[in-house]
């Protein structure tokens, strides 16, 4: 992995490590300040395991007041702070800096209030995404955004990254399902944006903070809305003789006014790989395979499934299966959810890209990826959240071979640049972090980036909170941007990734 430039290490801070540690131990329980290398090791990386860096210290605050005091202390003493939730992020957003205090929010792990009358849950930030659903499902409710790492990722991290999921076409990403947050700014100011009432007046700081990747504040409390679980959920598994047919089918389903809860496409390479891996019963002879899921009342789902069937047949579908039971529906998804480990079997390493494209450009982009695959002589498999245009190419390579790694990096950057070129975005849901930082100038010009940096400076004048993330340091577009997995071993091999 090519080395990554991070903000200049402050040697004065490095030399004051012991003093800073003892100062922090006066602010919070001394046991919650970690300083010896063995204790720091688990925090050296997040879900983007290709990059590692030990922090100067780790603090694990237990109260909002402690978070505020630590940030105030660090601000006054010019110590960098990197916030961290569950550490499952895929773009290196919580990778430590050598001279930083890593603020691990793991002790904020309680649900504060379940309020069915206002249909919301107030929770601490390190509660996992899925735990919120688990807390309300006995009353028939759930929390809609479902990033695939939902068993492990924290809701605070979801807010920081504006996480999406398979169902974000119909239900939106985190930003559309949030009612309020409590935030501590770098100077220690504690404030709340939003609350149980919708659309708080004034500037939409809730919207600004969501997806700001830990650069503007540390989230200490989250209020999310919960929805009534749909009565019926059904899925269809459809095979197509070409990517174009699959793409047209997607466009037509949307144009007909059916908004599926989820709609996924996999190319032949991935269909075969996942089917071999998970025996999901996929049509492996199809050039493209689509899983489309509808939820709602019985009549509604039936109507949409029927329409999907007609549209699929019109677009030359080669096979079509409708789930007859919930078990069968989950089986349809099992292969898709095993996309990452299935690729891990095919090659020593793979990189997962995360570009966003207009739905109608799917065939064009896949053709380009296939051309690039030949050019770089590296195999690739593609998964696509077709409903909302989020493409995840998985490039297979061998990290022990430097040339293979270099080619993979170039290949990945070329894909993301092409996504931007056809009107898409550099990242649909993984975030920019350190991973796509230098590619930001593909999507934005200097003025755009400058405006964003001015906002950062307004809230964190010394640029101490999570510096070196999201915005280019090199001021040139380096060839980077992917999730790297070696030997099928991710940081959390048991978390589904797709």
């Amino acid at each position: 992995m090519s080395s990554l430039q991070m903000p200049k290490v402050d040697n004065a801070i490095m030399s004051k490590k012991d003093k800073i540690a003892s100062d922090l131990r006066r602010i919070i329980n001394f046991k919650n300040v970690l300083s010896n290398p063995d204790e720091l090791r688990p925090f050296e990386t997040d879900g983007l395991t290709a990059y590692r860096q030990m922090p100067l210290l780790v603090v694990m605050p237990e109260t909002v007041e402690e978070v505020s005091q630590i940030l105030k202390y660090c601000n006054e003493n010019k110590v960098k702070v990197v916030p961290r939730g569950a550490g499952t992020g895929l773009s290196g957003g919580s990778m430590p800096l050598e001279d930083c205090v890593l603020m691990a929010m793991g002790k904020f792990n309680k649900i504060i209030e379940i309020d069915y009358e206002n249909r919301c849950v107030v929770t601490q930030p390190c509660v996992t995404n899925l735990a919120i659903t688990h807390a309300v499902q006995d009353k028939g409710f759930y929390y809609a955004p479902d990033p695939s790492s939902q068993i492990a990722c924290s809701i605070g991290g979801n807010v920081a990254e504006n996480s999406g999921g398979v169902h974000s076409l119909k239900y939106g990403a985190t930003t559309n399902n949030l009612l309020g947050i409590q935030v501590v700014l770098m100077d220690g100011t504690v404030t709340k944006f939003g609350g149980k009432a919708m659309d708080a007046e004034g500037y939409d700081f809730l919207g600004l903070m969501t997806g700001s990747e830990g650069l503007l504040g540390v989230i200490t409390e989250v209020t999310v809305k919960i929805l009534k679980s749909p009565e019926v959920v059904k899925a269809a598994l459809v095979g197509f003789p070409s990517i174009e047919d699959a793409g047209n089918c997607v466009a037509e389903i949307i144009a007909e006014g059916c908004i599926p809860a989820g709609m996924e496409i996999m190319d032949k390479a991935l269909t075969k790989a996942t089917n071999d891996y998970s025996k999901a019963g996929y049509p492996t002879d199809a050039e493209a395979m689509m899983i489309v899921e509808f939820d709602g009342t019985e009549h509604e789902v039936e109507a949409y499934i029927q329409k999907t069937k007609e549209i699929a047949e019109k677009n030359n579908s080669s096979s079509l299966k409708i789930s007859k039971s919930n078990e069968e529906r989950l089986k349809f998804w099992a292969g898709r959810k095993a996309a990452f480990p299935a690729c891990g079997v095919l090659a020593p390493d793979y990189m997962c890209m995360d570009g966003s494209i207009p739905r109608g450009k799917l065939a064009e982009v896949l053709n380009e990826i296939s051309r690039l695959s030949k050019k770089y002589n590296l195999p690739v498999a593609n998964a696509f959240h077709a409903g909302d245009g989020n493409l995840h190419p998985l490039i297979m390579f061998d990290a022990n071979d430097k040339e293979s790694l270099r080619k993979c990096e170039e290949f990945g950057a070329d894909i993301l640049k092409y996504c931007v070129k056809v009107g898409g975005a550099l990242t649909g849901e993984h975030g920019v972090g350190i991973e796509k930082r230098e590619l930001m100038c593909e999507a934005f010009n200097d003025k755009d980036i400058q405006q964003q940096l001015t906002i950062k400076v307004a809230l964190d004048p010394n640029s101490l909170l999570n510096p070196g993330k999201v915005y280019p340091i090199l001021r040139k577009c380096a060839e980077e941007g992917r999730v790297h997995v070696h030997g099928g071993k991710t940081k959390f091999p048991d978390i589904p990734r797709f």
Binding site: S168, D199, Y203, E231, G296, E300, T427, G428, D448
Partner: protein
């Protein structure tokens, strides 16, 4: 779409109202104002320009000629328009493909001038007032995919794009929504569009009691019948809704169900059963009349040409009953939207003391008040928007980061911002 920024136009700076037709003209106006420290009032179609504080500005930027649809891709579910484009024009275009802006923005024309004026899309986004579908589909800001604007230094900036999934950089589309033109001059907006539901039906329950109404709405919104609108009109507004399918002219609770026709029928039946309604207390509005009903609600038609003061109060649903009971000690007419979270309340008399008391009540119940229509005397002294000192400080910083010399609508939201 990138125009050259340095090509010169023949800008006559002596005029007081600028009506630009190109982005280059806007850039030049802003650059000159920035250089000369001249405040600008920014207007679209003036449908909502009376909302907000009065402020002094030497020049006016009228964006009503900066209009037009740039790109509409029905299958990609987005439309890209210039900010001065009338909302009506956009809706007409979307109608052709049976699509809509799902957030149903309010039409304030009836309130302020007695007739429809739904304004420009730039104004709709700048105010961020969403209609009855709010609790189901989100607010205006949830549908803004990206924008291009001019900041206070005359620089063209953009954020977001035309794709739904995009987490590249700060989400400035949210920040500019509801900023009342104080951060940037919007030039282009990319907006998410959605298919129109096949059918809309409305269950109207004859019921004059607020408590019972909130109970119905709470149950409906927590049921799997997935309603997309829920309002309560007290007795005095009943006569405003006499429709073919609705002969009852007293207080009413209305719940809208949308979707494929057979599913709507099924859900309407189920909902009336879940709410334990008897046939005689119930009317069903079929598609066309259902649409008329919700349009009147969205247009605030019960407050057409209202003389007195109109306040918009947003609360957690659990607090609505108590707040209205407290407000009833004043001379008010109100209705409840957003399934119980939004109160539109007209006050026959309102002065600084009453206003301050009402604000205290609402704040205590975790909500907020926006003064929508208010007498000029009071407007000069009252805070239109409420803000606490910490958020004021942050807002000031954010304002400066976009508009360092405070030339865009200075003071429209808060003194000093």
């Amino acid at each position: 779409m990138e125009e050259k920024q340095n090509s010169q136009t023949s800008l006559d700076f002596n005029q007081n109202i600028f009506k630009p037709t190109s982005r280059q003209e806007i850039v030049e106006i802003v650059k000159t104002c920035y250089k000369k420290n001249i405040p600008l009032e920014i207007n679209g179609l003036k449908s909502k320009n009376k909302i907000g504080r009065n402020f002094q500005s030497e020049k006016t930027l009228d964006l009503s000629d900066y209009k037009g649809i740039i790109d509409y891709k029905p299958e990609e579910l987005y439309i890209k328009v210039k900010a001065g484009t009338p909302l009506k024009e956009i809706i007409k275009e979307l109608d052709k493909n049976n699509q809509q802006l799902a957030f149903e923005p309010n039409d304030f024309g009836y309130l302020f001038s007695g007739e429809s004026n739904s304004g420009s899309i730039g104004g709709v986004v700048s105010c961020n007032f969403a209609g009855s579908r709010r609790f189901k589909v989100g607010s205006v800001r949830d549908h803004i995919l990206g924008f291009q604007g001019i900041n206070g230094k005359g620089e063209t900036i953009k954020s977001g794009g035309t794709v739904v999934k995009n987490v590249t950089g700060y989400d400035l589309s949210k920040l500019i929504s509801g900023s009342f033109g104080t951060l940037t001059i919007l030039t282009e907006l990319s907006i998410k569009v959605l298919p129109k539901p096949e059918t809309s039906k409305t269950l109207v329950i004859k019921n004059p009691h607020l408590k019972k109404a909130l109970d119905f709405l709470g149950k409906a919104l927590s049921s799997s019948t997935d309603p997309s609108g829920g309002v309560f009109y007290p007795d005095y507004f009943g006569k405003d809704f006499v429709l073919n399918d609705l002969t009852h002219d007293g207080g009413l609770t209305a719940i809208r169900i949308e979707g494929p026709t057979n599913s709507v029928d099924q859900r309407v039946k189920r909902l009336s059963k879940e709410l334990g309604l008897l046939d005689q207390e119930l009317s069903i509005l079929e598609n066309e009349q259902s649409n008329i009903f919700w349009n009147r609600t969205k247009n605030l038609e019960v407050f057409k040409k209202l003389e007195s003061n109109l306040l918009r109060i947003v609360l957690p649903i659990s607090e609505t009953l108590q707040v209205i009971q407290k407000l009833k000690s004043y001379d008010i007419k109100y209705f409840v939207d957003w399934g119980g979270s939004l109160i539109w309340a007209a006050f026959e008399t309102l002065d600084a003391k009453i206003l301050s008391d009402i604000k205290d009540i609402v704040k205590k119940h975790q909500g907020y008040i926006t003064l929508i229509k208010i007498e000029d005397d009071l407007k000069a002294s009252a805070d239109i928007f409420t803000i606490d000192p910490i958020k004021y400080k942050i807002s000031e910083k954010i304002k400066r980061s976009f508009d360092p010399k405070r030339i865009f609508n200075p003071g429209k939201m808060y003194t000093g911002i």
